[in-house]
């Protein structure tokens, strides 16, 4: 058995596979398939200061090798999460990451304060949700706003802070540098790419929100490219995600520069995917006489 553990911002994960925010709720449902301790960690459904009902349905459409979604951050609010879900999650023997989203910088800071008082392991700053009218991605598309919100939240956050980056930008490397410069301990990337699907018979967008976020295998090469670009631009670790479906994808994403990984869309066709990917990673390491999975990170040999 190879050593599959990785460390991000001082937090040790038993393996690099983390369930991606928004695909896994607060973990209770998937815990009916396998113990969550099989995962390196869980990034919880994005939470906001107050309860949100989200967008009207339909919230999802299938696209070639992927899906579009526009859930719109439905969640019970940070206080309910802390009271009802976090204590259960902390008993599951896996790293717990709280993903936070807000309408204003103050929202993020208040949530960071509240969560810093809990035993959550990390915070993931969601400034890349494309499916809400205010907040979300508006903070994530310029270096100034990313730098500013990272700095403000950093001042209120006494937990390791991960900034989740949007791919809907011109130069993701400079955005990552802005987060790093203002105190981010790590970045996670990529959130979904904004997309659209139209029903040609009704001329209506399939998703009620008109546009949604594209994820799944279709976005994987984009994610690999962006992780590689950011790995070349920052020193902080990268949690890589975006369409990882097989263990081979996991190896590829780590070679591009990721230290840990998040897995999302593939869970909808195969809930056991993270377990299978972990097993595949271990086999690959053993067959190649690599003692630790950390030795894969950033080992691409570019032309």
């Amino acid at each position: 058995m190879a050593d599959l553990s990785v460390k991000v911002a001082g937090v040790t994960f038993a393996n690099p596979l983390i369930a991606a925010s928004g695909t896994f709720g607060f973990g209770r449902e998937f815990a009916e398939f396998y113990p969550l301790s099989k995962l390196g960690g869980v990034s919880c459904k994005g939470i906001t200061l107050k309860r949100r009902d989200g967008n009207p349905p339909p919230r999802i459409a299938e696209t070639p090798s992927g899906i579009l979604n526009a859930v719109g951050l439905q969640n019970p609010g940070v206080d309910v999460f802390i009271r009802e879900d976090l204590p259960w999650l902390k008993q599951q023997n896996t790293v717990v990451i709280a993903n936070i989203a807000g309408n204003t910088v103050e929202d993020y800071c208040q949530m960071a304060e509240k969560l810093s008082e809990t035993d959550v392991d990390m915070l993931e700053l969601n400034i890349s949700c494309p499916n809400v009218k205010s907040g979300g991605v508006q903070f994530g598309t310029s270096c100034e706003s990313v730098g500013n919100i990272t700095k403000e939240v950093r001042a209120h956050c006494r937990k390791p802070l991960v900034v989740k980056l949007s791919p809907n930008v011109t130069d993701i490397a400079s955005i990552a540098q802005a987060a790093e410069a203002e105190g981010a301990d790590a970045v996670s990337m990529i959130n979904t790419l904004t997309g659209m699907k139209i029903d040609i018979h009704t001329r209506r967008p399939v998703i009620r929100n008109n546009t949604g976020g594209l994820s799944g295998a279709a976005v994987f090469p984009v994610a690999v490219r962006m992780v590689w670009q950011v790995a070349n631009a920052v020193k902080i670790p990268i949690i890589g995600m975006g369409g990882i479906t097989t263990w081979e994808d996991a190896v590829e994403m780590m070679m591009a520069g990721a230290t840990a990984l998040q897995i999302g869309t593939v869970l909808f066709s195969d809930p056991y995917a993270p377990v299978k990917i972990t097993e595949g990673l271990n086999r690959f390491l053993e067959e190649n006489h690599i003692s630790s999975v950390t030795e894969l990170t950033g080992t691409v040999i570019p032309w």
Binding site: P56, V71, P271
Partner: protein, 252 residues
């Protein structure tokens, strides 16, 4: 573990009406009992999402899924051959609750008819009211009678059964039943719910919404319901697909 994914052997997959297929899967080794109104989440090779299909029948060790070819995913399903192993996550969701001693009207519209078969098998001499667009789409009427049901049929164009809507037949016969279960297109469910509310009959409806995980984690298949005077979001896959009609806030 509450959920299980199994590879079930495909016994047959025949086209029983225009574009409607009857998939029968060997369920004899499966320990998870199915309740009427629950659904199966079927993996389709090459697709990002499973296809949620209501259980038509689950008696005698056979899981029967009757589905309509609507797009690419169901087209691939329709081409699966006997002997193939089909990857199925089932049973999911909350089905109809059936009280013994009550007589039920079971109302199906179009591809909402199939779940009423296994439901009929749980009821004592139910009245099954089926509605279809035309005669070429009529399915399962003999199956219902074999399950001990009285059957009434209508079509939009009168090419089979009575010309008209299921709500017409429901109104004519409502005094003969204690409660109603319905599955079908949203306008039909809304109309059935309205008739039941007007005439004071308890009504359960099975809803459909575009779905991903099937277990209540991803929150895409949202439905607005009224609980204790407050409107909240629930999810078709986990809280439903069956809801009390009076709780559902119809949209759009």
């Amino acid at each position: 573990m509450k959920y299980d994914i199994r590879k079930l052997r495909l016994l047959s997959n025949a086209e029983i009406a225009q574009g409607i297929f009857d998939m029968r899967l060997d369920y004899s080794d499966n320990p998870l009992p199915v309740a009427c109104g629950q659904f199966a989440h079927v993996y389709v090779p090459g697709k990002s999402l499973r296809r949620p299909i209501s259980v038509c029948d689950a008696r005698d060790g056979v899981l029967r899924l009757v589905y309509q070819v609507k797009g690419e995913g169901t087209r691939i399903m329709s081409q699966m051959q006997p002997g193939a192993m089909v990857d199925v996550l089932a049973p999911l969701g909350n089905g109809f609750s059936i009280d013994s001693g009550k007589r039920y009207a079971l109302i199906g519209g179009g591809i909402g008819v199939p779940p009423m078969l296994y439901t009929a098998a749980q009821c004592d001499h139910p009245l099954v009211i089926s509605g279809f667009r035309n005669a070429s789409l009529v399915i399962l009427q003999d199956d219902f009678r074999r399950a001990g049901a009285e059957t009434l049929l209508c079509t939009d164009d009168g090419s089979a059964g009575q010309k008209g809507f299921v709500t017409d037949l429901l109104r004519e016969n409502i005094s003969a039943v204690d409660a109603v279960c319905a599955c079908g297109p949203t306008p039909m469910l809304r109309a059935v719910a309205a008739v039941c509310a007007e005439l004071g009959k308890p009504c359960q409806i099975s809803l459909e919404e575009r779905m991903a995980c099937g277990i209540g984690a991803c929150l895409v298949c949202a439905v607005r319901v009224r609980k204790d005077g407050e409107e909240i979001m629930q999810h078709v896959c986990k809280n439903g697909p069956v809801f009390n009609a009076e709780e559902v806030v119809f949209h759009g």
